[in-house]
Symmetry: C2
Subunit: 151 residues, 2 copies
DNA sequence: CCAGATTAGTTGATGCATCAACCTTGACGT
DNA sequence: ACGTCAAGGTTGATGCATCAACTAATCTGG
């Protein structure tokens, strides 16, 4: 129950700084290249990866692990900008179905290319393969730890 | 210039998920324990760690690596909630100096304890020492990579 | 079949992050 | 000195994230 050791504190500080800077540059490059935010991007990709024409909000929400109000607000903004459309859902008339517009589909592909390239450039080409593996394992371990206590 | 490999894509997905969930639980626990946001916390700790009574906004900004308008907005909100006070700066009459209120100082200590304990619990006690070291190295490497191209 | 509980989704409010525009004050070259 | 320019900070606008309250449709037990 002791405090953090010095190396631990330094490791944490370094991680925090990296996390902030990295998502900063990735978000900025994405916005510069496509005009999309990361939230836009996540939604577009999630919808586009589906084989079906349209996706239920519910399915999106589960895939993204977002709160329902977050998704609702986000979809409203994206609809206003002409990236998606929303229509009634057949199976459940409470639900709604999301469909990409032509522009939405186009941007989804474009953005995916830019984003993956940036991840490659900033992360994958910078770390050794062993480090990439280590990062994956660390992430998986921490995720487990979180999910153990938070149901 | 190829795409991400499958393991790379999985590693990235895992990292992203961990990043979101971890800062989620840490932020939530901090808020539950103290009523502070992470932004509040960062500012309080940064001010409190100074030996001096009051700190210039400029110094804070550099330490936190925040934009000036971000800090200004944050300080306004914190002032309204009675965590800090702001006064004119002697050396440079453009500047402003920040001082913690009694409540601010108290919360800073309280929050630090809770936060460090949570980092220990979720991260340091979960990873092996080697993994902590690896994470620190990975973070430092990525930070270097980012700073090479940006600035 | 119906009453109560769940669930899908929306809405409004608030805090946080960023951008651009602005104001004041200090710095500097001439 | 003085004119110009840069720097410290504030403000307003917008988008994103979360919470709580709400509506409407579905499910479930009796």
């Amino acid at each position: 129950m002791a405090d953090l050791t010095d190396p631990q504190a330094l490791a944490w500080a370094s991680y925090q700084r990296m996390r902030v800077r990295l998502s900063g540059v990735l978000g900025r490059e994405l916005a510069a290249a496509t005009g999309l935010s990361e939230a836009d991007f996540d939604v577009l990709v999630a919808v586009n990866e589906r084989p079906d024409e349209s996706v239920r909000s519910l399915a999106l929400r589960c895939g993204l692990e977002w709160e329902k109000s977050r998704l609702s607000h986000q979809l409203r903004r994206m609809e206003q900008r002409g990236l998606i459309t929303r229509e009634a859902c057949e199976e459940d008339s409470r639900g709604s179905a999301v469909r990409l517009t032509a522009r939405g589909r186009e941007l989804a592909c474009e953005a995916r290319k830019h984003y993956d390239a940036a991840v490659k450039r900033y992360v994958m080409d910078t770390l050794t393969p062993e480090q990439v593996t280590a990062l994956a394992e660390i992430s998986a371990t921490l995720l487990d730890r979180i999910e153990v206590t938070h149901k």
